[in-house]
Amino acid sequence: MATVSELGNGALAELTVLDLSHYVAGAYCGKLLAAFGAEVIKIEAPGVGDGARQVGPFPDRSPDPEASALYLYLNTGKKGLTLDLASEGGSAILKELVTQTDVLIENFAPGVMESMGLDYATLSAINPRLVMASISNFGQSGPYREYRADTMVEMALSGQMYVNGDPDREPLSSSGYQPSYQSALYAYSGIMAALIARDRDDKGQYLDVSIQEAMVSEHQFTLNGFTASGKIRMRSGNRYGSVHPSTILPCKADDNGKPGLVSLGISDPTQYVLFLQLLDMSELLDDPRFANPQMCAVNYREFDALISTWFMDHTAEEIVNALQDNRIPAAFVNEVSDVLDDPQYEFRGFWKEIDHPVAGNHRYAGLPYHLSEAPPVYERANLLGEHTNEVLAEKLGYDSDRLGQLREGGVI
């Protein structure tokens, strides 16, 4: 049996992954495998590359395909290979690479891989040990198979959006890419499960991950209420469900003039009683409107007005500390700029400094977990086609003449 040190650069160092991803879902999945040492080869179309390279944000707001934050974050630790998969030469090279591959990840629209002659049936015939993961908006089958979607449409059709926002305004999606991220996490676990199964029977398999299903699986409470009693979960504004105060409230601005906001998560009666004691407002408990967190939720407007004086007298830091000292859940309300300075993230070493020849040195979000015996590796994202020669020479033995021909033919 190998020892940890023999495993070298991580728990997954023995794996070779072909990452045919674009944008977020497939890319994040590949990034996670790379973080544990897998050799992840990102395959992009020659010339343009992954669409994430066009998204940004960019340094000084000036677009540069090598300095798009979205691409840089989602492709850390990968090798870059350009390959025109739609060309015969390109798909032939991919098939050659597949013979030496453990995992293939793709998130094209359903049918695209097949149209390039690269469907699972074909690839598994070449390499029966291949684990192939396809991530798509609605999965590889069913009436919505061809439907188009983006974050908002996935939030809508997964039922997530309906429960976000004010009951008397339109439902809210979120900015960013949560549905794609979640599907990436399902794909990551699915791939690991398939690799564990492969250890037993030496056979690969196919993994079909639907972004919609991933998001439907992330709010069981909505489904459970309906299946139990026909209850339709509604939007409850900037508050959580049927207890109060589990919400975000305004408070005193801090010395730097940052507008004051603080998060409260009070749900159980003990916390609620302690909270009112701390505010010196225990008399509210005698008012049936505020007798407990459930009643308080019904009358939250009046309640928020009553406690606002105390909140406007204290900064978020004072409130969080005072409440947490009494074991009452309270938290800071952070922008994505604030989290970079948060002492807790700092303490756990969450931010990883990564230098990039075009984008420069920046702090990247790490993984939210540490493995004691297999620390993750954090390396910069690949440039477009950066490792094309290296990969094709080392893996397939192509010489410089052959590489030159392929380059002239636009295949790489």
Partner: protein, 424 residues
């Protein structure tokens, strides 16, 4: 595929001390994939002793709002989280309880808990102790802020992790404050990271023979899932503003009202081609030719007026009709489905996504299935959620070899049981 195929995690035993959502979401996936997940709970943590019919009405999670004689076995939330798992009770604040737990650790692969970081050490259980018992054990702890650092002892929920991590900053009506997920989203999201971490450790262990300690911080999950934005801020110097359902590179982009009460369709139009298709699909109305809307830049600049026109088109229409019509024209569009529409969604049902479980005390319940769809070793619904303490005979008797008398003795001394204990 053969219905008898073994799950990919067949033969893996998990001791699940986790509670509420983040941890159980993770172990639910492990169980769906064929692991033997033994949920272990202290009976003080099971919930209140009594649930009145009135409370049941408010919660809406008991079948037909009837808590029944043993409400703890009828809560559909628990039964969804508990599907495919086994259940034993064990009071870990007793010496005998801890001793039995350690015996289980000896014959298990994974331990997972999502307590605050002081709980387990107080019980005399931590990774070094369990590692000494079983060097191959994988131990995952996943408190809100992590097991170390200035906020390690902060009390937290998914709802407070949400704004702290920056996630909530990415949701909100235009120009307003960060908006919490209606759904405590950081909980399941953290559960997903835990699942991946555990499987990575398991894969590694099959090679090295060694377990490891996984230290997860739920707050970091939220920051990892907004990592492109925190990096983007460093590159551009700009904090992304809240823009409701708008989009920086797409217009129209939003949720538009449809026929009926609280019915909406989400419509996303990005490229010029999509805009041309959209104009055709909505019948080439005069406003669509307005020169202000000729370019994406113009459409982004005049969004409120544009949104007004789109809403005029959607308002009299059925949300599904609008979605289908637009999708047929190649436009990304989707009904903003509620619980009822979601569970009756023709696509999800045709893919067989939902699983039905026939629970002995709660009847037939429909739960979300498993998005990890593996062709040869599929996730499955093996069994409905256990009742409290249902697997004492298997776990304590068969696995640990306790006699019936010894198990009865555990019952009599209150170390195990079948009903919740009243919280003091």
């Amino acid at each position: 595929m053969a219905a008898t195929a073994k799950g990919p995690l067949d033969g893996v035993r998990v001791l699940d001390l986790s509670r509420v959502w983040a941890g159980p979401h993770c172990t639910r996936i492990l169980a769906d994939l064929g692991a033997e997940v033994i949920h272990i709970s202290g009976r003080r943590l099971v919930g209140r002793r009594e649930v009145t019919r009135e409370t049941a009405m408010i919660l809406g999670t008991y079948p037909d709002n009837d808590p029944g004689e043993r409400h703890w076995n009828r809560n559909v939330l628990n039964n969804d989280m508990g599907r495919n798992k086994l259940d034993v009770t064990l009071e870990l604040n007793t010496e005998r309880g801890v001793e039995l737990f350690k015996q289980l650790v000896k014959i298990s692969d994974i331990v997972i808990e999502n307590y605050s970081p002081r709980v387990m050490p107080n019980l005399g259980i931590n990774y070094p102790i369990l590692k000494a018992i079983n060097p191959a054990i994988i131990y995952c702890s996943m408190p809100g802020y992590g097991s170390e650092g200035p906020f390690q002892n902060f009390v937290s929920y998914g709802t407070t992790i949400d704004p702290h991590s920056g996630l909530a900053s990415r949701m909100g009506y235009p120009g307003e404050e960060p908006h919490m997920s209606g759904n405590a989203y950081p909980d399941p999201a953290s559960g997903m990271f835990a699942t991946g971490a555990i499987m990575t450790a398991l894969f590694s262990r099959y090679r090295t023979g060694k377990g490891q300690y996984i230290s997860l911080a739920q707050a970091e999950s939220g920051a990892a899932l907004t990592g492109e934005a925190s990096l983007g801020y460093q590159l551009s110097g700009e904090v992304p503003p809240r823009i409701g359902n708008g989009h920086v590179r797409k217009a129209p982009h939003g949720a538009y009202p449809c026929k009926g009460d609280d019915k909406w369709v989400a419509i996303s139009v990005g490229t010029e081609k999509q805009w041309a298709n959209f104009r055709d699909a909505v019948g080439k109305p005069g406003w669509a030719d307005d020169e202000r809307y000729l370019t994406l830049e113009g459409r982004l600049q005049h969004q409120p007026e544009l949104d007004g026109h789109v809403a005029d088109w959607t308002r009299g229409r059925d949300a599904y009709d609008a979605m289908r019509l637009l999708q047929e024209a190649g436009i990304a569009a989707g009904v903003v489905v509620n619980a009822d529409e979601l569970m009756n969604d023709e696509h999800l049902n045709q893919r067989g996504f939902f699983w039905k479980f026939d629970h002995p005390e709660a009847g037939v319940q429909t739960h979300a299935g498993q998005p990890i769809r593996l062709s040869k070793t599929p996730a499955r619904h093996y069994r409905p959620a256990p009742t409290l303490g249902q697997h004492h005979p298997y776990v304590l008797g068969e696995l640990l070899g306790l006699s019936d008398d010894e198990i009865t003795d555990l019952e009599e001394t209150g170390i195990i049981g079948y009903t919740p204990l009243v919280r003091e």
